[in-house]
Subunit: 318 residues, 2 copies
Amino acid sequence: MDTEAVRSFVRAAELGQLQHAADELGVTQQAVSKRIAALERELDVRLFTRTARGVELTLDGQAFLPHARSVVTGVDRAVAAIRPGSRALRIDVLGLRSAQAVVLHDYWRSHPGTDLDVVTLRVNDPRAVVAAVQAGDIDASFRSVTDPATLPRDVRMIHAFDSPLELLVGPRHPLASARTLTPSQLRQHRIWVPGIAPGSEWADFYDQLATDFDLRVDAAGPNFGNEVLLDILADSADVATLVGSRDRYIWPTNHDLRRIPIVNPTLAYPLSLVLPRANPHPGLRAVIDHFASLAPLPPTTWRPSWAPPRETTERPRR
Amino acid sequence: MDTEAVRSFVRAAELGQLQHAADELGVTQQAVSKRIAALERELDVRLFTRTARGVELTLDGQAFLPHARSVVTGVDRAVAAIRPGSRALRIDVLGLRSAQAVVLHDYWRSHPGTDLDVVTLRVNDPRAVVAAVQAGDIDASFRSVTDPATLPRDVRMIHAFDSPLELLVGPRHPLASARTLTPSQLRQHRIWVPGIAPGSEWADFYDQLATDFDLRVDAAGPNFGNEVLLDILADSADVATLVGSRDRYIWPTNHDLRRIPIVNPTLAYPLSLVLPRANPHPGLRAVIDHFASLAPLPPTTWRPSWAPPRETTERPRR
DNA sequence: CGTCCGCACAACCGATGGTTGTGACTCGCC
DNA sequence: GGCGAGTCACAACCATCGGTTGTGCGGACG
């Protein structure tokens, strides 16, 4: 099916005349006629009844029209998503089920019509991420750069929002039935967070966490994928892991796992946003504002030493 | 843009190999390669990075993919909407802003994924509507047939739901500030309902209404369109009209018009559904069930004499 | 280092989709 | 009633497209 034919159909249906649609689309009336005829042949129905002063939708045509519109707008959105120059807002996240992506999805649902694309850079090197922001391949990234001194002058990093941690355990774990937990209650339990690259910001985060609260955080070992991790958690009576409260790596139905909030103090992983200093994408402003509207964490919340300062000045005072 | 190319892109992205996508789509690997290349040429971006063991999405490809999926599903839905034989549920309504269409829209929103098409037969003769139902052009129609004896044996008419009436007035009308009204309060006021064909069920409805409550209902005169009616109402200090509470012929912003519910008794127009007696469309059952779930009207509600009996037996007893 | 595997290019060819020119038809007006 | 002005459809023509088969290139892997 040719999307130009669909577009012609939509315009012809709206204008009631092939001629007018043809003028608008910059082709001859005959071309539109053939496009419609081709559509009708492909679909094996008549879409229009031809009259002496134009065309009128048949019942099939009426049924087809809204779907045709959705196809046309879908195509337009698709093109807008990648058109160099003025394209949709494109933000890099670590994974499509991460808290970052979940919050972006929330934003998108509360702002219908926003052309927002969430992508995942297939690189681990923070410098490559910065380069992608610099080059304009992406408009912003949630990857953190631990040493702000390494940032080029034309790229900046700001605090996005804090992601509070929860303990994720299987039903046989001794803490499985707790409603909330304090960090000190985790002391004697093994916490396994696989797939953390040594030297990364996450490794440092868990290092500080283990030191400050005297925890046994085992961040070594390869990551065999979430499925394997979840399987192990579900069966184990002594292994637990930490996840962001907004992460959606698991479904409620899987494995009978429990999420237990951690409080007094809340433990938060500070998520940052890397974006170009000059001419950021115009849609980015609203996304950052959306972060500010998320439920704030308690003032006692623990954060790692390198947590960027949160912006308190720009909060709207309604 | 060729939708088959888009489909190929989606499958190739999902499978990671052009070869597999080609096998699935029943074409050669080269054809898929050319389709993708054509897409890339048309969009002027690279969608895939070619590797030795397949293809991998570029950032642009990642951004494009969800939109491409939506185009493909849109095309599939469009085709399903009109495929002869097993096509989407198609229901005829009087107007796309009528209570009928509004309720169908509600149903559709609460049942995502339903292939439901709302169309408007361009005829006034009820016999033509019945013929369309008989022929299978539409699966059901909200048009009423006043004399059930004229219905062919293989078509039946059932009660759909009752549409309670509201008074629609401009700001200068003496009743404009009432929160609710009883029919007796309307007695001295002129009620104008233009565009009612003599002899139609609507004419009879307003006749009975005027008789039973001693009202001045002026159903004569041509209908110059809703815009004209609304303009007149907005300016007039003595003309009002009646609308269904679910009708959406007006926006809240237009003209500063007020909708005033009528109670003690509530006045209801009974909407019926004409459908084939044998083998109705399978999706119709759920729609009819949805009608039953609408908020019921008070038992004192007034209805015209020909109101079909409401089904009370089939209500689920949960 | 050779083999395998996957994608791209070339050559070919029928189908497609655009154009211009023309015909059939309806409506409205003289 | 006939004629003009409007519509859409059909015919002829032609460039391009989109499919095929055959082949080449290059990375991954044993």
